[in-house]
């Protein structure tokens, strides 16, 4: 996604506490700028009856999850620039990506460069975990019913990339996105649109809110002596032209 497409605005940094230059947090809410909240759509899983059998109610699409107050879930919020020249150690603890009810869980997550990933198969049916990055190397492994977990070496995530898409070719509706960053300052918005990035060193940053369906936003902020609150307002995607 080109930065040029993103609207850039200056966020109001609200000074809450005065004190010495200590790490602060960046928190806030992500909303989408629409008149009417788009209705959720059920996912058609008929091509694999095993997937249908895993749901008593239809599984709703997670492409966008917006509540009545237009708060957006699954937005990846991260520091885009401002940390250059600093290095951060990657955790050895693997991130976890599960496959439950023929959907990836979580849909959106972050990893640090070089951090391993553990892929779980709670479904106990065949999925193929197919990562289709633009910068990192492609990764595509079959995960049949009998394989419950698969370790993915941190070497697979050797370069920063926002976002690395995941898909399952067997179940084309299955999608996940992992943001790979050289630092730990990222968060994914909750169902109420809230997010919090903790322990951010003082400094001036650009922070981006990325969403798979909506047009993201980049804001400039400064963390100085206090916690920062920002609110993002995403735009609906440009309407696709009908053929």
């Amino acid at each position: 996604m080109g930065v040029g497409k993103l609207s850039i605005a200056i966020a109001t940094a609200v000074v809450l506490v005065a004190g010495p230059a200590a790490p602060g947090s960046i928190s806030g809410v992500v909303k989408v700028d629409v008149k009417k909240v788009p209705p959720a759509k059920p996912v058609k899983m008929e091509s694999d009856p095993d997937c249908v059998a895993k749901h008593t109610e239809p599984h709703m699409s997670e492409k966008y999850i917006v509540d009545a107050d237009k708060n957006v879930k699954n937005v990846f919020v991260y520091i885009k620039t401002g940390l250059e020249g600093q290095t951060f150690e990657s955790p050895k603890r693997p991130g976890e990506l599960d496959q439950i009810g023929c959907a990836y869980a979580p849909r959106v997550m972050g990893l640090m460069v070089g951090q391993p990933l553990r892929i779980l198969n709670s479904d106990r049916l065949l999925h193929n975990v197919h990562m289709t990055p633009k910068i990192n190397e492609e990764f595509n492994k079959a995960m049949p019913a009998r394989v419950r977990k698969m370790p993915v070496s941190g070497k697979v995530f050797s370069k920063a990339e926002v976002m690395v898409p995941f898909k399952c070719d067997v179940h084309p509706w299955m999608k996940a996105y992992i943001g790979v960053l050289p630092h730990p300052f990222f968060a994914v918005s909750a169902a109420d649109g809230s997010f919090a990035i903790e322990d951010v060193p003082p400094g001036k940053y650009t922070v981006e809110a990325w969403h798979e369906a909506f047009t993201g936003q980049v804001l400039e902020i400064e963390v100085a002596e206090a916690d920062v609150t920002v609110s993002f307002s995403l735009k609906p995607p440009p309407r696709r032209k009908k053929k």
Binding site: K41, L126, E137, E138, N140, P144, W173
Partner: protein
Amino acid sequence: MRMPVSRRIALFAVAACVLEASAGIEQAQAQATAGDLGSVGSGKIVYDDKCAHCHGAEGRGDGAGADRLSPRPRDFTRGLYKIRSTESGELPTDDDLLRIVTEGMPGTSMPGWPGLSDDERRAVVAYIKTFSKQFERATAPLEIAIVDKVSPSEESVSEGRKVFEMLECAKCHGQEGRGNGPSALSLVDEWNYPTRPADLTMSWRFRGGNETEDLYRRFIAGLAGTPMPSIKESFPLDMEVEDIQIMIEDEEEISPEDQKKYDDAMRAIRVKTWHLANYVRSLSPAENPEAAIVLKSALVEGELPQGADDPRWGAGEGAMFPLAGQVIIEPRLFAPTVTDVFVKSMHNGEEMALLVTWHDPSLSVATADDEADGVATTTGDDQAEQQAPMLNDALAVIFPTRISDGARPYFLMGDARLAAYAWVWQAKLSLSPEETGEGHGDVREGRAKGLTRFQEQPADAQDVRGKVAYAHGRYQLLIHRSLGTEDKNDLQLEAGKFIPIAFVAWDGSNGEAGTQCSVSTWYYLHLEEPASNRPYFLGLAGALLTIAVQFAARRSFRRAGA
């Protein structure tokens, strides 16, 4: 003239590309004279001349011919190569690329270039690598070791079937491997173009070769840029081995015993992978079939087979007749589903039975709604999209209207000048995979003056009987007709004659209808002649004549001597 099918198709596609290319060659030559030096530079000269028309000047797989090819030409900018001797996630070796440039890729439009010198081919490989940043990596790609190989045997094949089931290969490739699994039609490649899982029963079309070593490498490496994953890590491990694996991942020290346990587990996985390679290879004939020219209809006594399962048909699918997308008349079809039909025939002197087999990953039949309008359906979790209406699968068998004058109609089901005699079958709503009964065949005989101009004969003049079965990605259409009929509009089938025959197929789910179909050229049907008395009489007459001549000669000699 016998030429492997893949080569014919490749030639066909190259011809299409070369047509596009003629303008480009002059340009390439102009650039070549001003071109830079070194192997990459000389590679560029070769590339611009031979490759750019399909693969694009910038290597993006977007050359002038690209839209007409299926699969599309490779986009070199991502460094993703399907056929490699290297592990999952690795780049190909130079030799991998050289092999494709030299030998081409079966089942695709990519021809081999054995006519280029070794230096030219190496130079073009060096140049192709400059299209992707991925090749700037310093480390050499890790090659797959060909170890622990298991020779093919009945036992290995049956072990391989178990692995096929454990890995659930059927989800895409289908229970019998014809590329017809439930996910088959929804697959897309890295560039979001539709892609189909391989028909494992046609191993001669495998892109990377059909030796078991080739299959082993594909399983270990996966096919980069496609939905086909690597299976190397897809085998369940014991808890203990899993723990050792995590320790290795974390670069912890492990004991020699643990190392041995881990190595044994990895060896067991390699052995299973070889079993799978042996099983998959066993789904295709041991020898790659060659296209037939003549379909022989054997003479049998008594009643003809009434079903495809009659043991008298024998093993195998029958004589193979290749089909290609119809690209002469608009609208054209560049990526057909049906690339071969397999045919068997028998007759009993009065009636002929023709069994036509072809592979199609789905049975498609238009519903009443489809016929009325397009249907709005949701694909995946994307927004609702207006989908094209479903079309009927269909197949036509084409003949001239008579064989006495030797004239053959235009191979696209005749034309206004000379009509063809045709048997046309079309899938009907009443047909379901379970329903194979008679009456669902719906084969109609009639005359055609082109692909969209078929005129069926009135119901009381219909002399063909059809019966169709569809299961596991395979159609089997059995057609019966009397050799001779009372109808002057019918072709009269005669034993001992070479009767021109051609085939046309439509896959409804691939949007095929009318002129968008796959077609064959003319081949011959030959009905075995009954062993008549005539040769016997001729032999006897000959013998008598010889004796008579000898007798006369002897008499004349005697006379002369007397």
